[in-house]
Symmetry: D2
Subunit: 143 residues, 4 copies
Amino acid sequence: MQIPSNAVSTWITPRVSETDGCGHINNTTLPVWFEAGRRAFFRAVSPALSFDNWNMAVVAMQVRFQRQIYLAHDVRIATWISKLGNKSIVVSEVALQNEAPCALGECSYVYFDYASQTAERVPDEIRQRLAPMLCETMKAIAS
Amino acid sequence: MQIPSNAVSTWITPRVSETDGCGHINNTTLPVWFEAGRRAFFRAVSPALSFDNWNMAVVAMQVRFQRQIYLAHDVRIATWISKLGNKSIVVSEVALQNEAPCALGECSYVYFDYASQTAERVPDEIRQRLAPMLCETMKAIAS
Amino acid sequence: MQIPSNAVSTWITPRVSETDGCGHINNTTLPVWFEAGRRAFFRAVSPALSFDNWNMAVVAMQVRFQRQIYLAHDVRIATWISKLGNKSIVVSEVALQNEAPCALGECSYVYFDYASQTAERVPDEIRQRLAPMLCETMKAIAS
Amino acid sequence: MQIPSNAVSTWITPRVSETDGCGHINNTTLPVWFEAGRRAFFRAVSPALSFDNWNMAVVAMQVRFQRQIYLAHDVRIATWISKLGNKSIVVSEVALQNEAPCALGECSYVYFDYASQTAERVPDEIRQRLAPMLCETMKAIAS
């Protein structure tokens, strides 16, 4: 498992409410944590984190689970942009506990005008803000 | 534990993601279920369930836990209006599993104009729609 | 979008807490709903829905989003087994609102002995209980 | 609003999935955040954060909402023990955004033996570990 050196790290403290009866973190928690890891990405798109100009719609997400995650230790979410297309963006993510990769994620967005309900080209100013977290040679999940 | 005969029943099937490592339903799930039980109440306030005219702000909530709730059996949420004041409304709720009361809830709202950020009198047309679920002689939690 | 006639239907009433600031159902809610749709599958594996013999570990999940889902209308989750392998099972799911497909899901499990931490063959009695929801000629997401 | 100087601070970054269609943090998120703020408390009771000796059951919780909480700014949860009784413990909490108190919480636990299903005296070694976060002269919510 390789993680680009420019990936953004978000530290998550697991919550009791995120475990399940099997005794570890429930699988539906991972998409929530991966979304939490995309805060820098959201800020690049909507600098004030305002829903009035959110302009991002998820079209697909994928998670691979490699190890169970437990309540007791913090989790690092590593997040980078693995594809910056014309109208679409792919965000790749890895969840690590005790530095061991536990889950891999990929989430595809289209830049979206909610008013006209159409996909549009990602504007240049957003491309510039996304550039520091871009690494198109690595993906979290090999296709 | 008394429940008024005009209480609205909402059936909830417990989800794996709502349990925790202790093996039963996590306590933070109850406010979520009680909010789910208030759908008829929300419809009375905003008939199309549109966030454009939501006009309800929670000012307080309270939950008492009496029995653990398990994954295997459906849960009934019984919901009624226990106070319909000038600007405020109290919703009382009970969660029952196998007809045994497991949790009691009380949630206080003010009728709220988000634009002016002020509380206002609950309009008459909403009072009429709330009337069928009103029972001011019973509360879920004795004060 | 084709759904097998033996798919299990689970009706979900969207919750306010499952929406987000964009005004519709948050994308992280879909894995929760799809897990809720797998209750009949869980019962086939662990008839009493007891965590003591759960024996199912998620190895991968995938969701494709086709339409936004709103608070106002109930959602049907259609669930079937699209692959019943030696040690692994794939569950396919579709979320429909007003009978329009809004999200497609695929979730892969291995039959897992938590004590020995190894994958094992799905036992025959579980295969028999899964048979009524099996349709290996249809998937929710085309590979 | 007074907060004891020995309150434990937990910083929470609000998540998109924790907002709702009204555009701010959903009220059911607060019990989740307050539970997250009780991690030091949980560690005092179960040092390895293991569910095998959890021994804490929630009997009541209460939340007062004073200000809406928004996605854009981190939230501080201040947590202290406001009552350390024979068998019961009350945890008081305040959620602050931009240092303004937004929500107040009180959560009552009993020390509980799940095997015998009875409440028991909080053991001395746990009392010692709870002492640094004890302030019985302040409550979050005035009775």
